[in-house]
């Protein structure tokens, strides 16, 4: 504490430079609180657009299933399972990959990430909160698609609960990719384009049975993270192969961790360049 003896303004000015004590910075927001806050804000943000958006996503997937009914051999279990599982996971790709890439691209272009970067919240909380929000919008749409598909293609509904794992884990992987696209693309149009290409890949490679594909396409399918979500879901049909479900979900989780970490890094990098 300084003693308040009367000193003239002049003597303050000319006194030997006393280094003013540094002001202690305020605490940072914890990862959990930051994540929840961002998540809650995002859910409320899309409250209005959620219903039409899910309608579009489901409509698109159901449309594809109707088309595929005329194309694939409906006598084969694997073909029917591939179509339904692929169309269901497509809902996740549409929202978590495509729309999140678009959202991050727009935020960045409008300097809107400044808002988060000037608050004491960790980039990881922002990225995870947004990714979680986008992934969770997709759950009702994915379930609806899976149910409609099961009815159309006479598949069992018993193991549908697997979607409770498939959606968050493939959601993490796909939202991570979406976030990276949105944050690293130099221009927002490019982010949108990349998001759309990613979704198209999930569509083209996801809904066909793997055993009908040429070698090269199978390699491409293996490189696409959404395929593991599709395969996990497929493995739960008929006589479930739980080891395959677990293995595929583990790949989703691993890709999710890598992509979300990369997204967090790009978030930091995105403006302070």
């Amino acid at each position: 504490m300084r003693v308040s003896t009367p000193v003239s303004a002049a003597s303050i000015e000319t006194a030997p430079a006393r280094p003013a004590e540094a002001v202690a910075p305020a605490p940072t927001t914890s990862l959990g609180a930051g994540l929840l806050t961002v998540y809650r804000a995002q859910l409320s943000r899309v409250r209005v657009s959620r219903v039409p958006l899910l309608f579009v996503a489901v409509f698109q997937s159901v449309g594809i299933m109707i088309l595929m009914r005329g194309v694939v051999d409906t006598g084969s279990d694997s073909a029917r399972e591939a179509v339904v599982a692929g169309s269901s996971v497509l809902v996740v790709a549409f929202v978590a990959l495509n729309l999140l890439a678009q959202h991050f691209g727009n935020l960045r272009a409008a300097n809107a990430l400044d808002y988060y970067l000037t608050l004491p919240v960790r980039p990881a909380a922002v990225v995870l909160g947004m990714a979680a929000a986008y992934a969770s919008f997709t759950l009702p749409g994915t379930v609806a698609t899976a149910v409609i598909g099961a009815l159309m293609f006479q598949l069992p509904l018993a193991n549908l609960w697997v979607l409770l794992l498939v959606v968050p884990l493939s959601g993490a992987a796909l939202a991570g990719i979406g976030a990276v696209f949105g944050l690293l693309a130099p221009r927002p149009e490019l982010a949108t384009l990349l998001g759309q290409l990613g979704m198209s890949a999930a569509l083209l490679l996801g809904v066909l049975p793997e055993d009908r594909m040429p070698e090269l396409i199978v390699v491409a399918r293996d490189l696409l993270p959404s395929s593991y979500g599709v395969d996990a879901f497929i493995a739960s049909y008929g006589d479930p192969d739980w080891a395959a479900v677990g293995g595929n979900l583990a790949v989703c989780a691993a890709v999710g961790v890598v992509m979300l970490s990369l997204a967090t890094w790009s978030f930091r990098r995105s403006t302070r360049s």
Binding site: M1, R2, S4, I12, E13, P19, A20, E21, A22, V23, A24, P25, A26, P27, T28, T29, S30, A33, G34, T37, V38, R40, A41, S44, R45, V46, V48, N106, L107, A110, N111, A112, L113, D114, Y115, Y116, L117, T118, L119, P120, V121, T271, R272, S273
Partner: protein
């Protein structure tokens, strides 16, 4: 003295001690360029050119300057958003060039754009910001309600920002900057688009933060009235350089005791009138407005001539005013005329 929430009181409060001489921002030789254009017409814009700036604790400090002067570029470096090419920034004893992320824990920033919050309701935008400033849920809600009251936003609290008028939206954004006390506020054109009532509410709120918490405020503005009413000191920026820095009064003293005579004509003024023909030679014309700076005695004489002769019939309005910061800016050789009056 400013008191940080959640820190040990004894270590940070020094009761009754003036701290105005302590620095808040100390900026030295700050330079920042942007590369623009593609391939052939690629060029470099020097948005900030070796800027030196000292902002003291507890003052309301303004940055005044025309579009493109480099004000936003400067404050985005002072808030850790942009890395300077060269130069140093000290904020309350912290090196911001080395550790830009410290700024988020000391400064509340209001950017020129507001994209991140557009789809939230006003209340949720404020509460979210409070939570992200590490307030717990109860405190965040309490502070949200307090700032909604303070800025009289209660009636629109439940409406999404993007459905509000421009001025209302800006006011809501100011509210997000004010929630959760911070020792420093950096506001980039906070009152753009606001009506006088809202503007006054913002000025009062800013002044309250300074008076009650000893907060330092750095405010970017185009508005000379705002600058003259609320600022303790002003730096005038032009083309990336600080061309003057003083109190508003001190700056005005620089242009001497010249006054400005403004005449607005409703019809073509009679050129055969001696006062009119004299004014016609020097006046800067903007539409139907003539504006001239001159010695007070001369101004009085000319005004008397214009208002007593036939020219009075053609005159719509006239004002004789002491120098404003706009005059200062023009006298300093500012190359643009981008400052807003009123």
């Amino acid at each position: 003295m400013y008191k940080l929430p959640g820190t040990d009181e004894r270590s940070v409060t020094i009761p009754g001690e003036p701290t105005a001489a302590d620095p808040c921002f100390t900026v030295r030789k700050l330079t920042r360029t942007y590369r623009t254009g593609r391939r052939r017409d690629r060029h470099v814009v020097t948005a900030n050119d070796a800027i030196d700036l000292d902002v003291r604790r507890g003052e309301i400090f303004g940055l005044l300057g025309p579009n493109g002067a480099g004000k936003s570029t400067l404050v985005r470096q002072l808030t850790g958003l942009l890395r300077p090419d060269t130069g140093t920034i000290d904020l309350l004893g912290h090196d911001l060039v080395r550790r830009p992320e410290t700024a988020a824990r000391l400064v509340a920033y209001l950017g020129q754009e507001s994209g991140a919050l557009d789809e939230l309701t006003v209340a949720l935008a404020i509460e979210t910001t409070a939570r992200l400033r590490a307030l717990d849920a109860t405190r965040a809600r309490a502070e949200r309600d307090a700032v909604l009251d303070e800025l009289e936003l209660g009636a629109i609290a439940d409406r999404p920002l993007k459905k509000l008028s421009g001025g209302q939206r800006r006011l809501a954004c100011v509210a997000t900057a004010l929630v959760g006390a911070r020792p420093v506020l950096v506001l980039d054109e906070p009152t753009t688009g606001m009506d006088p009532v809202a503007r006054r509410a913002v000025w009062a709120a800013v002044d309250r933060r300074r008076a009650e918490q000893g907060a330092t405020v750095l405010l970017v503005t185009h508005n000379v009235i705002e600058a003259e009413t609320v600022l303790d000191r002003v730096a005038v920026l032009d083309e990336g350089r600080v061309i003057a820095c003083d109190t508003p009064g001190g700056l005005k003293a620089m242009v001497g005791d010249e006054v400005r005579l403004d005449l607005v004509w409703r019809a073509d003024p009679p050129m055969d009138d001696p006062a009119v023909s004299m004014l016609a030679q020097t006046a800067v014309r903007t539409g139907r407005r003539w504006s001239t700076r001159m010695e007070p005695g001369v101004a009085r004489e000319l005004l008397a001539g214009v208002t007593s002769g036939p020219a009075f019939e053609a005159l719509d309005d006239f004002t004789l005013s002491t120098p404003s910061l706009e005059d200062v800016y023009l006298a300093l050789g500012g190359r643009h005329q981008g400052l807003v009056k009123g």
